[in-house]
């Protein structure tokens, strides 16, 4: 290396000496000094090329010139700071947005689930009961392990105030199926998971840290859950959580609640199964169908309509989110395309501006390959810088995504920048640099030296060609932007439709909270009724407050359905009766929620225990089951009741309520008074409170009232009803916001693109415009001249964009609510918006063109 440095340092001097000696020789031969010098130069040849070739002798392979190009590029970039900043920023936006979405996709769709051999895990879509789960465990030939879980809340006494913790009621097999190893102690064995078995608790790492002080000797300690002592036998690792059922404590279902555990038709466990080695999903599904048939034959009353569908766990988890994410990824890919088109367009503009330099380099002996390499290196440098800046955007964008995350993206916790994301950025940057640096490099390579020198760099063929390519680029940018805008427009329209859906109640000024009565003191219905009545009396005596109770609040996520029988109808086979949603209420529930009463009457305090049984139904119930009769006075009862039939008389009809979500249909529903209910196991209730003032002070006051009735009742899930509506719209809002953001980005980039192209064209034509003005063209004519070009681009771009959007928006049909993917109003609106933006972007350079002073323009040459 040193040898080389020494040799090359003196090269210039050596050459000069050489030429000098030759000159002197020539003079000695009788030439004039001037003649002698030129003859010597001629004889020597191209000095620059000699120097370059000599340097090439010492450089090793391609690395040397490549590094040289990079050094040159690094020196050149800060010399045109505007160009460099715009190019890097453009790419950074495109790459950053892509990386952010890619890291979400990477975390949610691509990364394996955090369980042992996650590919073997499947879920049964339908919930099931413990006796059925045990039967499947015994009969299956496809599963090696399996188990179910149901999460509910129990009060835990031992913290500073009574708290509710999430308790997963499981059977032995659940934790083994997920393959978790406790960090302390052990998990429950099947021998302990029996009726009358010990009360054992396996606690989550979170519970262990927060309530057991990370005690290394926590195993064998006793904790109080729901009024009963449980012995801690194991602590789970911090990395472990069931796929959806996040729980603080896991206990055996049958040991905790022998009655609920033994009911075959109480389908409330969500079950996970592990396929045996080599068993396919189809085989397992066939095996499952056989088990279903046997259970249906054996227990026709409960299991007649049994049909268990197996779904791979991963698919089941990401199912809903997948299509949204893929649409977003497609959208953000289009944004990158626009950014790249802008980038290429910038590079070409620069290549044309630098033609003079390139031509001179070529004249001095730079090879064509070398020039192409130099241009490519520059675009690579820019794209890599763009990628690096894009990483910053992505980091920021990912935290934005996390802040916006809808419930459905539950796995978002696994999102971070890993090597795969970094690799993605690297590949995308380098590809961008090479692919989109190609066009300008091609222009550089095509430069005909002699031709270019003759024309002294003004509008030559290559630059017209470049201009045409730029027009195509800008046209495609507009087309792609239109596709994105249409997509965003459709989502926005769907979202506003969704928002304006009437939920069936008035959510304003309503607070809700969740109460659960401990089994030990409230096992019997009269006790529960007494508590409810006492509490409501106290709450309703507060000024400006109206309180009521319901089993499941709309949009709260819980749903209970029962089969029922209508009096006087031909009998239906056992197990085949229709199902309705079942709710119990107390207090003026329909008034508090402002659910309109359509026909008949509301419940009164007189509709209570030992009085005739009554029910209020919703309109959907009437439409579906009682369409041709007066619903008032119809008698219904729950199916499967033993003993004398308990007929309930329908006394009123209320409006439909969107219980499962604003975009979900309403099921037929039956409301009954809490005090006439016989479901002693449902010791839970949700307080709905309408108050003029729903500040935290009200919540505190309500809590005080609750605890003055019973100081050991935990209160949880305090939400304003408005908040529940907002949460139910999160996924749609997420889709809309992101696609809207991308569309806005696309619009800006496309506007910059068309502006750049037009501004450049005007600049190139200054001379021509000057001549036209000198020859008497009016400003109006000049304006028309420039705008005509821009309008043509805009029309082509918008037309091809509409064609593209018609083809592509079908893919997002599943994300739309009550909007067709080809909604004409959206298409028209977006096309007009884009046309206006494009024309505005052209107008600025056009106005500049109008102001061209012919004298200045002509002299400019």
């Amino acid at each position: 290396m040193n040898r080389r440095k020494g040799m090359l340092n003196d090269l210039e001097q050596d050459i000069r000496d050489h030429i000098e000696l030759e000159t002197q020789d020539n003079i000695a031969r009788g030439m004039s000094p001037e003649e002698a010098h030129y003859a010597a130069l001629r004889k020597f040849g191209n000095v620059a090329r000699v120097q370059e070739e000599t340097r090439a002798v010492w450089s090793s392979g391609w690395v040397e010139p490549f590094l040289q190009d990079i050094r040159l590029g690094l020196r050149m970039l800060p010399k045109s700071p505007g160009f460099t900043a715009v190019a890097i920023l453009t790419l950074a936006l495109g790459i950053g947005a892509n990386t952010a979405i890619f890291s979400v996709i990477n975390g949610v769709l691509l990364s394996p689930l955090p369980y042992k051999n996650p590919k073997q895990l499947v879920v049964i879509k339908e919930h099931d009961s413990l006796p059925n789960v045990l039967d499947i465990q015994r009969q299956t030939r496809a599963f090696s392990q399996g188990g179910g879980i149901n999460v509910d809340k129990m009060d835990y006494i031992g913290a500073t105030e009574p708290v509710q913790v999430r308790v997963g009621s499981i059977n032995a097999g659940f934790l083994e199926t997920l393959g978790v190893q406790p960090i302390l102690g052990r998990i429950i064995s099947s021998g302990e998971d029996v009726q009358g078995g010990p009360r054992l608790a396996m606690v989550s790492n979170h519970f262990w840290q927060n309530y057991l002080g990370s005690d290394p000797h926590a195993v064998d300690k006793t904790i109080q859950l729901g009024g009963n002592p449980y012995t801690v036998i194991g602590v789970m690792p911090a990395s472990f959580a069931p796929p959806v059922e996040h729980a603080d404590v896991f206990v055996s279902l049958i040991a905790r609640d022998a009655r609920a555990g033994a009911e075959r038709d109480l389908h409330f466990l969500h079950t996970y199964w592990r396929l045996k080695e080599g068993v396919t999903l189809a085989q397992a599904q066939a095996d499952m169908a056989a088990i279903d048939r046997r259970l249906a034959e054996q227990y026709p009353a409960e299991e007649k309509e049994r049909k268990s569908q197996l779904v791979p766990l991963h698919e089941w988890l990401v199912g809903d989110v997948r299509s949204a994410l893929l649409v977003l990824f497609g959208a953000v890919g289009l944004v990158l395309l626009i950014a790249c088109a802008n980038f290429a367009s910038l590079l070409m503009m620069r290549a044309v501006a630098q033609r003079q330099e390139l031509v001179i380099r070529a004249a001095l002996g730079a090879g064509r390959g070398r020039l192409v390499r130099k241009t490519l290196t520059e675009s690579l440098l820019l794209s890599v810088f763009g990628g690096a800046a894009g990483l910053l955007f992505a980091k920021w964008g990912t935290s934005l995504l996390l802040a916006l995350r809808p419930e459905e993206l539950a796995r978002l916790s696994g999102i971070h920048m890993d090597t795969r994301v970094l690799l993605f950025v690297l590949v995308i940057s380098v590809l961008t640099g090479i692919v989109f640096g190609m066009a300008p490099a091609w222009i550089a390579a095509r430069s005909d030296v002699a031709e270019a020198l003759k024309k002294s760099g003004r509008s030559t063929t290559a630059s017209t060609m470049g201009h045409n390519i730029r027009k195509i680029l800008v046209t495609s940018e507009l087309a792609v932007a239109l596709v994105l805008l249409v997509g965003a427009g459709l989502l926005i329209k769907g979202f506003s439709r969704l928002r304006s859906m009437n939920p069936g109640f008035n959510s304003a000024n309503v607070m809700t909270m969740y109460l659960q009565l401990p089994t030990t003191r409230y096992g019997e219905i009269p006790k529960q009724t007494q508590f409810r009545r006492e509490l409501l009396t106290r709450l309703n005596s507060l000024p400006g407050v109206r309180a009521a109770m319901v089993t499941d609040i709309p949009l709260g996520g819980n749903y209970v359905g029962h089969r029922f029988v209508i009096d006087g109808r031909p009998p239906v086979a056992v197990g085949g009766e229709p199902k309705v949603q079942t709710l119990s209420v107390m207090g003026d529930y329909f008034h508090v929620m402002q659910i309109p009463l359509r026909v008949g009457r509301d419940f009164t305090p007189l509709d209570r225990e030992e009085q005739p049984l009554v029910a209020v139904v919703n309109e959907e119930m009437v439409r579906e089951f009682l369409p041709h009769e007066n619903p008032i006075g119809v008698r219904i009862r729950w199916a499967g009741d033993t003993g004398p039939p308990q007929w309930m008389t329908v006394i009123g009809v209320v409006a439909d309520v969107k219980h499962l979500g604003l975009n979900q249909p309403t099921d037929p529903a039956v409301y009954t008074p809490f005090s006439q209910s016989d479901e002693a196991w449902r010791r839970l209730m949700i307080l709905a409170i309408r108050a003029r003032d729903t500040s935290p002070g009200l919540v505190e006051e309500v809590k005080r009232q609750i605890w003055s009735v019973d100081s050991q009742i935990p209160v949880s899930d305090v939400h304003a009803m408005d908040e529940l509506i907002a949460v139910s719209l999160e996924q749609q809002r997420f889709n809309m916001l992101l696609l809207g953001l991308f569309a806005a980005l696309a619009l800006i980039l496309a506007a910059v693109g068309i502006y750049g192209a037009m501004a450049y064209a005007v600049n190139q034509r200054t001379h021509e415009i000057g001549i036209r003005t000198a020859l008497g063209a009016q400003r109006r004519d000049v304006l028309r001249l420039v705008m005509r070009d821009g309008t043509k681009i805009a029309i082509f771009g918008i037309a091809s964009g509409i064609a593209g959007a018609l083809a592509l928006t079908r893919l997002m049909a599943s994300l739309l609510f009550e909007v067709k993917p080809t909604d004409p109003a959206t298409f028209a609106g977006v096309a007009i918006l884009l046309a206006l933006v494009a024309l505005a972007a052209c107008y600025i350079p056009a106005r500049r063109a109008m102001r061209v002073d012919p004298m200045v323009a002509l002299r400019y040459e």
């Binding site: 050489h18 070739e53 000599t54 002798v57």
Partner: protein
């Protein structure tokens, strides 16, 4: 660089210049201009090297360690680089020369099957 001049001149085969430089330096170390002059003079001005192309060739030979370079003083008392043959270069010259002879004979046989002394044809 007019076309007329180009017609009279005989271009050099790839690698031939290296051989000529080595042969010239066999007489002793000298500087770049002198090497060019010597090649021209010894070939009766027929082999007109574009003098510049000497330099990449010199550097190539230095890199291969066939010639060495040291500071010296030229005939008009100026500091200049003197190039000299190394032992390795000397051995290489022998190899290259015999290779060249074989090549020249072979090509001459192909071009002038009847006249074995075809080498002289290239001289005017």
């Amino acid at each position: 660089m007019s076309t007329k001049e180009q017609r009279k001149r005989i271009g050099l085969l790839q690698g031939t210049l290296d051989l000529l430089i080595l042969r010239t330096l066999l007489l002793g170390p000298t500087h770049g201009h002198a090497i060019a002059k010597a090649i021209e003079f010894n070939s009766d001005d027929v082999l007109q090297v574009e003098q510049g192309s000497l330099y990449p060739a010199l550097h190539r030979l230095i890199k291969r360690r066939w010639i060495s370079v040291e500071e010296g003083t030229s005939e008009n008392n100026r500091r200049a680089k003197f190039y000299g043959l190394t032992a390795k270069g000397r051995r290489q010259l022998v190899v290259e020369t015999s290779k060249w002879d074989k090549l020249a004979v072979a090509i001459a046989r192909i071009l002038r099957p009847a006249e074995p002394g075809a080498q002289q044809e290239s001289k005017p």
